[in-house]
């Protein structure tokens, strides 16, 4: 335990110096890197149990069961898509019956537009339901994810480039109510990852120049 405390103290010192070096730009949060999906998964469970709220895990691919490990619920994108689908269906009904019943009534093969001839209107209702659902699924997903966006503070961290290749990260934001640079850094060090690094809002940070693990 004594060794551990000693280690923490050193880490804090270096990190403080480092933040000062960057003209006191505001701190976005603290990041830690993991080698495998399994390590990330178990670390995420610990962050969840520690009670942090404003944090995220980053991985090259979606990890099965990570939502539970992070303690976040199911995506409610499906509700948006349901509304999108209903809109498409209503639009098709409005368009088809508006035109065929009121604006330009047609008798096709001796059959007027009425309840008996509705099946012939189904294909376009179906297609527009699918079309608007799919548009809602894609653009709704982007909107819920806050995309597209030009940049994000996590990209200031040089090691973060590997997130789309084969490395796994946890970042706890400074905005979190439980966040304190000393305690959170000690906590992240205890998770078994590497390269615990303070990430600045708008200045590049490097884990290569200063080794925070010492």
């Amino acid at each position: 335990m004594e060794k551990n405390i000693n280690f923490e103290m050193k880490t804090i010192e270096t990190s403080m110096t480092h933040t000062n070096l960057n003209n006191n730009t505001p701190l976005f949060g603290l990041g830690v890197e993991f080698e495998t999906a399994r390590d990330l998964y178990h670390a995420a469970e610990k962050v969840r149990d520690a009670g942090y709220k404003r944090w995220d895990t980053f991985s090259p691919f979606p990890i099965h069961g990570m939502d539970q490990a992070m303690g976040i619920g199911k995506s409610w994108l499906s509700a948006l898509v349901f509304i999108g689908g209903l809109t498409g269906f209503s639009l098709a009904c409005f368009m088809e019956f508006g035109a065929s019943s009121f604006l330009y009534p047609l008798v096709v093969a001796g059959k007027p537009t009425n309840i008996m001839t509705i099946p012939a209107f189904f294909p376009i209702m179906f297609e527009l339901t699918i079309l608007l659902s799919a548009l809602t699924a894609t653009f709704g997903m982007l909107a819920l994810n806050g995309l597209p966006r030009w940049n994000h503070p996590v990209f200031n961290w040089d090691r973060f480039k590997k997130v789309t290749e084969d490395k796994f990260f946890i970042v706890i934001e400074a905005e979190d109510k439980k966040f304190s640079i000393e305690k959170t850094m000690a906590f992240l060090n205890s998770l078994g990852g590497a390269h615990v690094t303070p990430i600045c809002e708008d200045a590049p940070v490097s884990s290569q120049t200063v080794d925070y693990r010492l």
Partner: protein, 470 residues
Amino acid sequence: MSNGTATLESTLLSPAEKQVQRPPLVLNKRTMAWISSYVSTIVESDTPRWWWISIAITSPIALLTPLLLCYLVSTGVGVWGNNSPVAWAWDITNFVFWIGIGHAGTLISAILFLTRQKWRTSINRAAEAMTLFAVVCAGLYPLFHVGRVWKAYFLAPVPNANAIWQNFRSPLLWDVFAVSTYFTVSILFWYTGLIPDLATIRDRCTTKVKKFIYGILALGWRGANRQWRHYEMAYLLLAGLSTPLVLSVHSVVSFDFATSVIPGWHATIFPPYFVAGAIFGGFAMVLTIMLPARALYPQLHDMITPSHIDKMCKVILLTGSIVGYAYLMELFMAWYGANPYERDAFWYRAFGPYWWAYASMMFCNVISPQVFWFKWCRTNVVAVFVVSMFVNAGMWFERFVIIATTLARDFLPSSWGMFHPTWVDIFTFIGTFGIFTTLFLLFVRFLPMICMFEVKAVLPEADPHYGEEH
């Protein structure tokens, strides 16, 4: 595992995995970094010489189509060979041919996703791209088939000066909605799948220009789990929406024929028969383009494995047999229906002036894929390629047989006639192959051909409980 030969790996496997060991989806125990670098280097490395040679051949061919369409519009519809009685000739044949090819891509990306067929991950990206390019080629034909292409907006329900509205009960209008929806949804599905991989390329880029372009295309993706959960839901929903869509598109295309009263077209068997044929022809086209791509990029061999080719051959065998059954059932119904017009229509198909098209169709679609009952044929790349070329040709003949032979011989002998393609017909069609291959070459060069993040996710170490005993 008690025989003392347990390796380190086998001790890491869970008891369930020890019982049944599935063949690995990625061969040679490749790592995630290997997948990223091998797929990305295709995009990052210098343009290979074969690529320049190929595109130098395909792009002039691709130019044929727009030039000949200009010629068509500026001169008049008579430059095409379609005329009464064969009013839907090569243009609709080629439309159905190309739109059918697209179906394999959506089947791989949507239906195999919903049925959790993990082997799809290394072929879905290229198959989806193929879908888009095939639909581009397909869409040209009905657009120009309307004759006055500058009036094509009449198909869209917009208020116009004539106060005329569309007939929403027409299968041709259903087709407009089905094909445009299909194209839009295919683009959305494809691009959604590309976002995380574009982010990989962005993070590997060395030059500023590339970083800017791929950065814009990746939309700021950062792989956060709070993003992944919406992303996975969106992907699941898109797969769920595309599945009925892909089945509906070719059904609607078949309604163009089936809802008419022409003998040989008026058949309830058409929708399932068309869908099976579309998947059949589409898988053949996937193999036709993936086998050369795999030969040119040997690093793909570990991701597009012989097992993938084997599975695609089995799909071709299954759908080819369904198509063969439909051909025979059509003949049976014509005979059993005891309608003289229907009987004559099929008699002329098989023994009339277009017998050669019917015979080619039967040979290419029904007989040739039967060699896939033998494992040797499914694992021999040359044999697979030859059969897939037969199927491509056979599916074109099928559409030609359905359209041309039926219209050439309808009720009254006085209105019988033959269709002869003009040189404009022929070169416009050849040009669409140029468009298709040029777009595919550009895709291979500038976008990741394999869905990297999905392939990483099927590696054993992607499991968060990898190596843990339960």
